[in-house]
Symmetry: C2
């Protein structure tokens, strides 16, 4: 069901490139939606172990934002004539595996999971969203710019390291594990979902060198986040 | 911190009744906020066991609504010069006990928990919200009228009973348990929180007969919900 797209209004036959962009747009929205759903679940679980009620409320608002993103993406998919469930389906495995391989062991690892994992995913979406239609692009940019809780995470992780400097080494390793797993799943998605990769690459087609450049940028952004947390990338 | 209210702008000394209404308003908002937070947590837990991904998405949007309510109430409390954490504090015990004593054993019990438990709480807030200031009242009415997911619950519970009529007896008992526990916690709150009860009673003061009438209405609404689910109240 994921690729059922309404024909364009002028009813001319869409070009192969147009078909690719449409399929890629549905893929992008499906990935964002499923990513938001699973991030919501992770945040809800982490919130249950929050050290204070105030932290619990913050985690609840963070997970509420993920639901809001999911709802907006679902509505955009409906406008494109695509079904949310079908659009999310191709990304179950990548996100489910990512979650299965990155279970936070405590509150600080959970906070880092959100910041590092969602940050990576958002950067990936931003790379892909360059070629999509203006309405989808505006939605994606709006969702990605919702970084209002980054400061909360950074402050808490920095305070946690200050309170017990020994955790820094473990959290640095945890950050590397998160990005390693994220890269591995992103590679899988890039290989499996031609439409998505076509968005990423533009009209020139898939190119290993260009994919690699994209991934280098993603790693660079990740390193910046780790430094902001006070951790060795 | 729950009762820190800004002095009225005209700086005349507020009457005892005005003080009562202010304290009661903060109590009401605190109860709604903590109720929303705990309902969000329950829905997030139930969502993890949803039978389909579509059901999981619906539960996520339901829990997202609870977070939205929490945020709106927090903002209103801030306008009243009151702190969210302090306002919620007097209601920890009632809600935590309610949750501890009503753990759904399966998906259908979880859905009923939402519909019956939140329905009861909303009716209770509606009884109390009669005396509050217009801005708070508008907010509470808006939050309470957010019943967009009732149909989802009713359809699923009815379908569950149709698929296996033997569950009807167990679910009817479950409904009675839910309302019994809700009444018990509401009684506790009515006794403990004079400001809240003063809202409920109006200027004439607390009156056992009037409290009892209120509770009779709450039970009546509960019975209507049970019948809508196809269950013996």
């Amino acid at each position: 069901m994921s690729d059922v797209i309404e024909p364009p209004e002028d009813a001319r036959h869409p070009t192969v490139r147009e078909e690719e962009v449409r399929a890629g747009t549905v893929d992008l929205l499906g990935a964002i939606a499923y990513g938001a759903l699973t991030a919501y679940e992770r945040l809800a679980q982490d919130g249950a172990g929050a050290p204070t009620l105030a932290d619990k409320v913050t985690l609840a608002t963070m997970s509420g934002r993920q639901v809001h993103h999911l709802e907006r993406v679902r509505d955009r998919l409906a406008e494109l004539g695509a079904d949310l469930m079908g659009a999310m389906e191709p990304f179950h495995r990548a996100f489910d595996d990512f979650h299965a391989h990155t279970r936070p062991k405590d509150w600080l690892e959970g906070l880092m999971w959100v910041y590092v994992g969602s940050g990576f995913a958002d950067d990936f979406y931003a790379e892909v969203a360059v070629t999509v239609d203006p309405a989808t692009r505006a939605l994606v940019e709006d969702v990605l710019s919702d970084t209002r809780h980054d400061d909360f995470v950074v402050e808490h992780v920095r305070a946690g390291i200050e309170a017990d400097p020994r955790v820094a080494g473990r959290l640095a390793l945890w950050g590397r594990r998160l990005v390693g797993e994220a890269l591995s799943q992103a590679q899988r998605v890039a290989v499996d979902r031609v439409g998505l990769t076509a968005l990423l690459m533009g009209a020139e087609g898939v190119d290993v060198v260009a994919v690699n450049k994209t991934f280098s940028r993603l790693v660079g952004h990740h390193a910046a986040r780790m430094r902001r947390l006070g951790l060795q990338p």
